[in-house]
């Protein structure tokens, strides 16, 4: 089962592969040098290459070709990684009124493509609880009326539909908060006095999202907001 959304898993595996390669290369080199180049017995007969003496700036020990190599090769890797992670930006921050983005146009606006459109909901953060507002979407698409007990506090439950796309407009009443949909791997700050936005593409592990009661996962607050920052969580349930 993936960590978060498919995009995240793809990026994560790719970065993990490269980290393994770079890590192995560096640690093998380190291990080799620190074992092979040990001073053998005591330290009197070592072959003093650079002749280091007190008060004398030591002989330069550089090799331009090598240094250029390990400047350019990491740079190329970095350029490749930037290029590789440039693509998903269009998914995480798609443009709401660009018809051929992943999420298309808003469902119901003229000219929207029916099987590629998104619904707009709004999420308001307040000092220490979330308010989900489905607007006039019908309950089957988005419903935020239920509450459920979560470790001692009553928290709202946001019911979304698998396969639908949602654009959440975020704002806050008092201080900064940030809804983090742990399973979908997205978060964005709710800043008071500013309207930010976040794309949510709910998915389930099992194809029918665990029967009718749906698969639930957590929404945590990930921008420090004071006393009950840890209790300011909510539940998102994805139904089929």
């Amino acid at each position: 089962m993936g960590i978060a959304s498919a995009t995240f898993d793809g990026l994560w595996n790719h970065y993990e592969m490269w980290s393994a390669i770079v890590g192995a290369f560096t640690f093998l080199w380190l291990a080799h040098h620190s074992l092979v180049y040990r001073s053998k017995d005591g330290d009197d007969d070592w072959e003093d290459i650079d002749g280091i003496k007190v008060g004398v700036f030591p002989k330069h020990n550089d090799d331009l070709k090598l240094e250029l190599a390990w400047t350019i090769v990491p740079f190329i890797l970095i350029v490749w990684l930037t290029y590789y992670s440039w693509g998903p930006i269009n998914e995480v921050w798609a443009d709401p009124d660009d018809p051929d983005s992943k999420y298309g146009l808003e469902c119901g606006t003229d000219g929207h493509d029916p099987n590629k459109c998104y619904h707009t909901i709004s999420i308001i953060g307040q000092q220490w609880f979330w308010i989900f507002d489905c607007g006039n979407l019908d309950a089957e698409i988005c419903d935020s009326s239920e509450y459920q007990d979560l470790n001692g506090t009553m928290v709202p439950v946001l019911k979304l539909k698998q396969g639908e796309y949602y654009l959440a407009n975020l704002t806050s009443e008092d201080v900064t908060h940030a809804p983090w949909f742990v399973k979908f791997g997205v978060k964005e700050d709710t800043v008071p006095g500013l309207e930010t936005a976040m794309w949510i593409a709910p998915t389930c592990e099992t194809s029918n999202c665990g029967g009718d009661q749906g698969e639930s996962s957590l929404i945590l607050c990930t921008e420090y907001c004071g006393d009950n920052h840890a209790y300011m969580s909510a539940i998102v349930t994805v139904v089929n």
Partner: protein
């Protein structure tokens, strides 16, 4: 000499704001605000240079050149701060401009 120059420039500056320039502004097709803005910059920069160069010995002494380099060293960091903090305003990530977005085939 430098002193009198500064006094005159300041007098012009204050005068430019005090006097009602709207008529003159219309004639060159700008609002009075833009005209005052232009005048203030036009006078502010020479005053800045006169004080720095003459009063602060950044011109004409043996150590002037190297000290001018020291004075100008933070220029890069000032520009970075003015652009990053001064001239940006908060916004939602969805209105990322087109030139930042990846090409469609990616």
């Amino acid at each position: 000499m430098n002193f009198y120059g500064l006094m005159i420039l300041t007098a012009i500056e204050v005068g430019a704001v005090g006097v009602d320039l709207s008529a003159f502004a219309e004639s060159i097709g700008a609002t009075e605000k833009q005209l005052t803005f232009g005048i203030l910059w036009g006078i502010g920069i020479p005053k800045f240079i006169m004080i720095a160069a003459i009063f602060m010995h950044l011109y004409g002494d043996a150590d002037s050149k190297i000290l001018t380099m020291t004075a100008l060293f933070p220029a890069f960091f000032i520009i970075v701060m003015i652009f990053f903090i001064g001239l940006t305003s908060p916004g939602a990530p969805t209105d990322l401009p087109a030139w930042c977005r990846p090409p469609s085939w990616l």
